[in-house]
Symmetry: C3
Subunit: 286 residues, 3 copies
């Protein structure tokens, strides 16, 4: 476990650049079990950042594949029955093999099937949980959930519940919003990079979950902890979004430019542009 | 119900601009049960125009979601068994809750499973039915259907059967083609906007069905009728297509520019560019 | 059957241009049973090159549709249970109707369900089999398969096994790589066109399989053989990729430009840019 002393913004930003380079040099294989709307964009985002995507969501294949993958994403956006069973199989195998896995509890709260599945899976040691404030509140047992993939709740309102969820599950919890909030239950990191156009492209959040799995996969076996890896993924992703938004004519051209930017973003840009602050739980932003 | 007197082109164009603004100010939540090929493009088109997409096609979730959604699209492009059951559940719930819903009978005619499902669903009070001429003729019980998503029949040949289908089902029926034909069974509207590049991008028609659901959702509870809402959706969509085609280097860049244009298109452009004519059934275009 | 004498590069390049024109003038209807990640890109690639895509993967519809389609693609990237049954139904119907069909054995090797299905289907007279070297080696009974859709093996190492697979199954076997290797078991064609950016866009290989089905469909009933059709598809596809890469800022803009280029590529460009060599099996490239 990282001690709090180590988690200052400069450390996080340096580590982010190193991990970005490591993703590119090691091409982590990211096993995606994700929703039908965003598979293509997710795979392209992973390819762009330098990872290798593979969607394997069959019962009988998902388990073996999770064993050999570098990281696993389980996104509950369109969890058809076969995919639900495959997700359970993959998570069990990932846990046994030590493959870090990410839970994205899309649109849980009011929708019963995915909500129950998310609660079950959250107990199976995800390395990270990523969602908007509504989804994180619903998973933490607070709030009624959003309407679809919208974030009806504000990020800051989720800070306490997110930290409690992190402590209970052992996961780094990432709350996406205008300011992203990331916490391991002890340290809270706020990241103010990004662009609102990310919310005008479907999969803007879902693909981030896959990139988190890529960075966790790259960090595996290194001295870098899960919080640093989750921060690094968010920082590379949101700095690329800023780069893409500059000159975009709308959401269509933004999405294209964003994939270009994910492929081009460099450690030096993260250092130049990062807007990261840290604090102990409930403390003020540094 | 609208009287025929109210349905003149100037009225339709004014109402279209107002509804476009209303979509943007109210962000209707559009429940999509649609085919695997176009989910991503459909969601991005809805986000671009200002609506909020959500694909919920699980049995046990589709019903509750249709109850809270602003509008519902049921597109039969790839109706897997679970999705077929979810569609029936969603339509039943939409009907009970008063959620306007749109039927897109993709490629019906020769393909037996979707054809039977489309005929069943058409009796369950869709607010609108959108398809190409072949599909509308097949649903009206005339013609043999197209080959896949192609329109083998001409739009004008579908005018009479479309009006009869509208009267029988209570739906506004929209026949997509070089000139779109929209009818509530009494009034027929012809809309000559658009660009052939829309037919070179997969989902060009399917996403329009979702945008129709968004406009119907926005119009709900206002004095605006279903025919006006369907016209408004078509007008905003096809004027955006014209804007996108201007300068596009091919279908790839057109699709990107089209999403940008959906986000940017304004009421004033609809007024400037609309090519709308109206007539009583079987009458000459005004 | 073509004799070896006819298969020289100049002949192949001329035939490629003729077939490209034939695709555009006849709009072959391509029945796609393909994976969830690439359906959209595949359909758009087919539309761009001038074919008509239709994804029909329901039991009860896939068979009848394969009977009327010009060509069929079966891609095993995400073979859900219903899709597996539909693939078997479609292949049986295609075989009976004489519809040429293409097998793309995505990620076979270690993953058991798709591997078994691929071995079964390969015996049912595909007109072509397309994959990367790992996949072709696995289908040929050599090698352990790749990790996901990566090509862990080199193309040249697959030359002998590919030719043996071609002779055993009667299919033209296409091994995608920096240099594509295509063989009917007697003649081996090497094609050095293309761009590495194709590997940074998901579906870069999968959509090629669909384009192969389009060209086989267009060639049906003409004097042109399957090897020529497969070469033509690869040549048009990879020359378009070169055109798209020129000026692309990254994988996002490349994908957009690639669809534009597929729509624009002409026979004269194939003649100007083709890098094709032929040889008898195990012989040196001409």
């Amino acid at each position: 476990m990282q001690t709090h002393a180590a988690i200052d913004p400069a450390h996080l930003i340096d580590t982010s650049g190193e991990l970005l380079d490591l993703v590119r040099s090691t091409t982590p294989l990211v096993h995606c079990i994700t929703n039908a709307v965003v598979t293509n964009f997710t795979a392209n985002a992973l390819l762009a950042i330098g990872a290798a995507p593979a969607m394997v969501d069959l019962v009988g294949e998902a388990g073996p594949f999770a064993t050999v993958a570098s990281g696993l994403l389980v996104n509950l956006g369109t969890p058809q029955p076969e995919q639900r069973a495959a997700a359970r199989e993959a998570v069990a195998a990932a846990r046994q093999a030590g493959t870090p896995w990410v839970l994205d509890p899309v649109a849980i709260g009011a929708l019963p099937i995915r909500t129950e599945l998310a609660h079950d899976l959250a107990e199976l040691r995800p390395a990270a949980i990523r969602g908007n404030a509504s989804e994180i509140l619903a998973l933490a047992g607070v709030g009624a959930g959003g309407r679809g993939v919208d974030a009806a709740d504000e990020t800051d309102a989720a800070a306490g519940p997110a930290a409690a969820l992190a402590r209970r599950t052992g996961a780094v919890v990432a709350v996406s919003g205008p300011v992203d909030l990331l916490t391991d239950g002890t340290t809270t990191v706020r990241l103010a990079n990004g662009d609102a156009l990310l919310t005008r492209v479907t999969g803007g959040g879902c693909a981030l979950g896959a990139v988190v799995a890529a960075f966790l996969g790259a960090a595996r076996g290194t001295a870098t902890g899960a919080l640093e890896a989750v921060v690094a993924a968010h920082l590379a992703y949101t700095v690329a979004a800023e780069r893409a938004a500059d000159g975009a004519a709308g959401p269509g051209s933004f999405a294209v430019r964003f994939l270009d930017a994910l492929a081009a973003v460099e450690a030096s840009e993260l250092r130049a542009l990062a807007r990261v602050s840290t604090g102990a739980l409930l403390g003020a932003a540094a």
